[in-house]
Structures are given as C-alpha cells and as structure tokens.
Subunit: 383 residues, 2 copies
C-alpha cells in the first residue's frame, strides 16, 4: 500500500532524532524507474517554506528520482540558512542514492520559524537509505505524521497499473492549492505534462476543497511520481480518475483526523450560477466559526449558514435561498422552513446543503466543527 | 450619558417579555428636536434583516424622529411576515409618539430565523413611551444587550455641544460596514449630508476594524441622530472627530466584552503600501484561528502571523517582513528575530505589529483570542 503500492518505488521511514520525543520523523521515497516523470503542486501561500521553494525548482525539470520528507520542523521562515539546509538535504540524498540533487524533492512539516537539526537529519538520510524497501510505504507514511493521530494512505488500481499515496495533515488545513504533504506514486508510464494536468485537476476538486480551519500552510506539497515500471500507458481519463480517487480518499482522511474535531461537515452548494460561486459560498460556510460551534453543539442553526452566504459575491437572491441540514430543509425561500427539531445530528458526519437557486453548478467543501479540544490543541503548546 | 447625554433626546428601556428570561429587551430613543437630521450605516451582508431593510428606507429621507430597538430576536430570515412586523413596529411607535412611521427607524438583535412575539412587542412600545426620559440613556443601553455582559455607552464633549452613544455587541462581530447595533445622538445642528459623511468616515476607521470572530451580522446598524437642540453648528472636522472618538470608544468596549475572550488583540500593520493593504493584512491576521488559539495560550507563535500575511494580496516581500509581539521583534526579515521567551503575554491586551516594509500606510484591527469559552458559549445554545 501507500507509496510502494505501485511498482518501481521503494520507501523507508525512520526516527532520525529530529523530534524530541523519539518518534519517526524522516521518510524517503525513491523512484527506481525505469522512468522518472513527475509533477507537483504547492501552497499558494506567499510565505513559502525553504523546501517548497527548492522543490518548485526541482519540478520545473519534470523529473524526480527521490523525495526526502521530514516531520518535526517546517523549515519555514528560516531565512538563507533554512534554504541552505534544504539544499544540503537534497545533496546528501543525491550522494547516498547516486542521483542528481536537482532531481531530489524535499518536503518538511512541523513548527514554523525553527531551523532543522542538520546533525540529526543528514545521518538520518543515510540510515533511511539503508532501509529502503518495496514494502516501506507504511513506515514512510508514519514518519511524516505531526499531530496526526493516524497515518494516511490510499490506493487505486487500474488495468495492470496502480496509483498509491500517502498524506499527512491535521491542522492548518485550508489549501490555496493543496494541503499538507502528499506523495503519490504510479507505475503507469506517462509524460510529465499529463501527470501535471491529472494532478492539478485532482487537487482542485479534492484537497483544494478540504478546509478544516481556514489556515493556509507555508509548506503544502503534493507530488506525483511515475516510474513507468508497469510499462503501461493508460488512457488519460482513466488515469486522471484514479489520481482523483486517491486524492479524494486522502482528503477525506485528513478531515476525519482534524485536530480536536468531533464532526466532519460536508458543505454541499447546489444550483449555483457558476462552480466558482459554489466554491466561494461553500468556503464561506466552512469558515464560519459561529456555525462550526453550533454544529459542535448539534444545533441546526441555519441562520448562521445564511449570514455566511450573505458575505459572498455569488449570484443569489436572499429570498430564494434554501438550506438543509442532514436533509431537513430548515430554511426555505430565505425564511423559516421545516421544523428544526426534525434534524438528527448525533452522528459524526453532518451534511449542510445550500441551494442558491441561481443555476445548475455545484461544489462540495469538507470542514470540521470548532471545539474546545481544537482550542486546547492549538494553545497548549507551539505547533 | 449614553444617547441622552446630548440635549434634545429622551430614551427608555423596559422588559416587554420578548426575552424568555424577563430581562430588559425593548429600547426607545426619541429626538425631541428642534431638528431631526439623521444618518445611518448598515451591514453589507447581503442577507439583511427586516429592520435593516426598513431603516435603510427611512434613512433615505435624511430624518429620524425615533428609533425602536429590541433584543431577544433578530427578525432576520423571517420572510414577508418579518417585514410586516417591522412595519407594524414603526407604525405603532409613530402612533404613540405622534410622528410619521417613515421617520421611525427599527433595529433588532438576537436569534436569526425566528419571528418576534408581536403580542409582547407592540404593548411594550406603549409602555416604553410612557417612561421616556432625559435620563433614560442607561436603561436603553441595558435593554439592547444580548450576550453582552455589560452595557456600552460613550460620550464626547464639544464646545457647547455633545455626541453620545450606546452600543450592543459581543458575538458575530466582523463588520462589512458597521457592527452590531449602535445609536449615536448629538445636539449639534448639522445637515443630513454632513452627518452621513462624519458617520461613514468614523465607522470605516472604528467599527469596521473590529473583527472579533470574522462573522458578519445580518443586523448591523449604526444610526446618528442630530436634534440641533444646542443651536450650535460646529466646525465639520471638530464634529467628525467627536463622532470618531465615540465610535472608537464603543468599538473598544465591544472587543473588551467579546464572547468567551480572555485577550484583546491589537493588530497594527505598519509600513504598508496602501491603507487597503494594511487593512487586508490586519484582517487576515485577526481571523487566523490558529494564531488566536496561540495567543490564548500566551504563545508568541509568530510563524502563524507570517502564514496569515502570506494569504493576502498586499504588497510585500516575504524576506523583508518583521513582526513584533508586545514590542519584541520576534521575526526580522521573514526569519527568526529576538528571543521569543522575552515576550510577556500575561496581560489581557496583546499587541501584534506587522511591518510590511513596503510603504508608509498603516491600520489597526482589533480582535480577540479564540477560547474554549467562545466554543462553549456558541455551541451550548442557539444565539
């Protein structure tokens, strides 16, 4: 499973001593070929971590032979020294693996504004390289966890080819492009341009629509590596759908593990004039703290949905809006609808449907409730 | 004090039975003249409560003789019946006071999506009218409270004239134009156009820059009524400054009483290319849930400030950003600055200074920390 589900990849995950608690904190994913085509999408936050700046450059070449990932430190807002550290990380991996540093992507996650302990990280790369295995995918997925309570992997099978992946992410979840760290691998044989298109299309509809807490990371990275080891070039649409399915699966797992959350909220905006309108309205609802508190309290407070819709530029008439919570249409024509006491909110998943009555487009945004546990987890210590 | 600090105004606040707990819930403010000039600014939420739609119409005439305000129900998302109820409220006040309904503004606050108990509200207007007094300002301020723990009044004295006011607001605090319910009164003698300009300028720099929880109300209303009873027409700049001072004072009180908050956070953006940039960056910082949790935990987590700045379109270079928390420059040139352990965050007020190093403009946004108490207050019952 994970990044080694597809043929042509090895991986490892070890404890290099970057985390003070001794948990695994360094992962290596290596493409053993024969092909090395790759694509990547990165955070649109203008404050980008050193590894994001580095990996963006690597990806312009369209080939990636290895990815070094570490938890225990984001290497963001660390100035020229931080960038030198990322460069040294890629150089070390290149040296150990016999590749060019220009084909080694780097991804980091953890606290912003702290330099990485390179005296731990560089020896860790040698150690990880010695443990590379076709069965190392799970260990790699475990090594990139931060506040994640579970590691996250997914797989989609094509006809003779496979797409697999791993993700980490539990907080600062609100993509401008992607969220968190994700490495996807495939043994299908595709050109970088096709990988890029499939990855962008998939992230736009999956990770981009996961919005747990409205906070965009400095380190978001999603990579897709193709080994060509299956020697099969699938039909593009089929391959793109497999990538989308794996991204969707991983995105759903991110929401399910969001810091402090007790509810997963599916915000579905329907009958919008445009898809952009649907996404804007969905995101506004997903980011409304008062609504997220109400959902936590199992209170079908639809007035807070309407007040969130009202802050957008989307096309709608206030007196034509309809809102359902768990399929009970508590708001009809912008006013009181069915009895709110009919809404059953006992389960973890809550569905909010906002009908804009302005067209035929729709979008789904996933978010979480806002809880005292979220406050605790993000105030009790630095993360 | 309050709305009766200026000559030419009477007010009353009573318990009409709109709130189930029997607390005061109905206020009346009457301009006894000789002039009736008025101005108003309202929420820019596109989902507007019935009283907002009504009062916007009233204000187009430039004259207001009375304001009816109720807590215990927002009369928002209540359809045609809700608008009829607001109309009936104005008609009743007009009848009792001998004015035209077209000069009676109405403001409501409380739960969205519930019709007001008109059988309580209409008799309440008669009862309140019977208690109108030149000393009724405090009682009126008390009657408009919802989750407010204290009532809020302010006053500024000119040379022979006065500006006074009252405000309510503790949650859903994030103006698109104004926040919450505010009535300002003055005995200065001014034309509606001057009142309007002074009020818009003041709210733009005060209430507009209070952003406790990022949630914009459907009912925000700020009214300025001028009786002309002092027979003085002050210099415009002097009057505008008095209005700004009262708005600033009330805005600061709103933050100080925000639901569940334990910290008042002054976000000061300096050296921005434009004032709009400064406001956009300030608002992005003020709305960052992770940062608000960190401040609650007295953790000077400046990385979360940078990640918030990075989501804006403002002019800046990431490696020239500086951030101070309580005057300690913990981030310099986008990287690690002074020792974060030097930051003392024990007190209620916390100052975050973001230096964009891109120009000479600045702005201040006030916000609060995010606490378990906020979650509790907004999840334990409907509000």
């Amino acid at each position: 499973m994970s990044v080694t589900a597809a043929k042509g990849f090895t991986a490892a995950g070890i404890a290099a001593g970057i985390k003070a608690n001794g948990n695994p904190d360094l992962a290596l994913v290596v493409n053993t070929g024969p092909r090395r085509a790759a694509a990547g999408v990165f955070t649109s936050n203008r404050v980008k971590a050193a590894p994001v700046l580095w990996s963006e450059q690597v990806l312009t070449g369209g080939e990636v032979s290895a990815v070094v990932l570490n938890s225990g430190g984001a290497n963001a807002c660390t100035g020229p020294k931080g960038f030198q550290d990322t460069h040294a990380t890629a150089e070390k991996a290149a040296e150990v693996l016999g590749h060019s540093a220009g084909e080694v992507a780097v991804a980091s996650t953890g606290l912003i504004g702290v330099l990485l302990p390179m005296d731990k990280l560089l020896p860790g790369i040698e150690q990880a390289a010695a443990q590379l295995s076709e069965h190392g995918g799970e260990k790699a997925a475990i090594a990139i966890k931060t506040t994640d309570t579970v590691h996250k992997t997914a797989v989609a099978q094509g006809d003779g080819w496979t797409v697999g992946g791993m993700a980490k992410g539990a907080g600062m979840l609100a993509p401008g492009l992607a969220t968190m760290l994700v490495v996807l691998t495939t043994d299908a044989d595709l050109e970088p341009a096709d990988l890029d298109k499939a990855l962008r299309d998939a992230t736009r509809q999956t990770f981009d629509r996961v919005d747990s807490d409205g906070c965009m990371s400095t380190n978001d990275t999603v990579l897709l590596l193709a080994s060509g080891a299956s020697t099969i070039t699938p039909r593009y649409e089929e391959f793109a759908e497999a990538v989308r399915a794996v991204c969707d699966d991983l995105g759903r797992q991110l929401i399910g593990d969001a810091e402090g959350a007790s509810k997963d909220i599916k915000v579905e905006v329907v009958n919008a004039a445009t898809e952009d309108d649907a996404v804007e309205v969905g995101r506004s609802i997903a980011r409304n703290n008062l609504l997220k508190c109400a959902i936590h309290g199992e209170d079908p407070n639809w007035g807070r949905v309407l007040s969130a819709i009202g802050t957008t530029r989307a096309a709608f008439e206030p007196d034509r809006l309809n809102v359902a919570i768990n399929d009970v249409w508590v708001c009809r024509n912008g006013s009181v609808g069915e009895d709110r006491d009919l809404v059953d909110m006992r389960y973890r998943e809550v569905r909010i449907t906002a009908d804009l009555a302005a067209g035929t487009e729709s979008a789904v945004i996933w978010t979480n409730d806002l809880t005292a546990d979220y406050v605790h987890e993000n105030s009790a210590y630095s993360s």
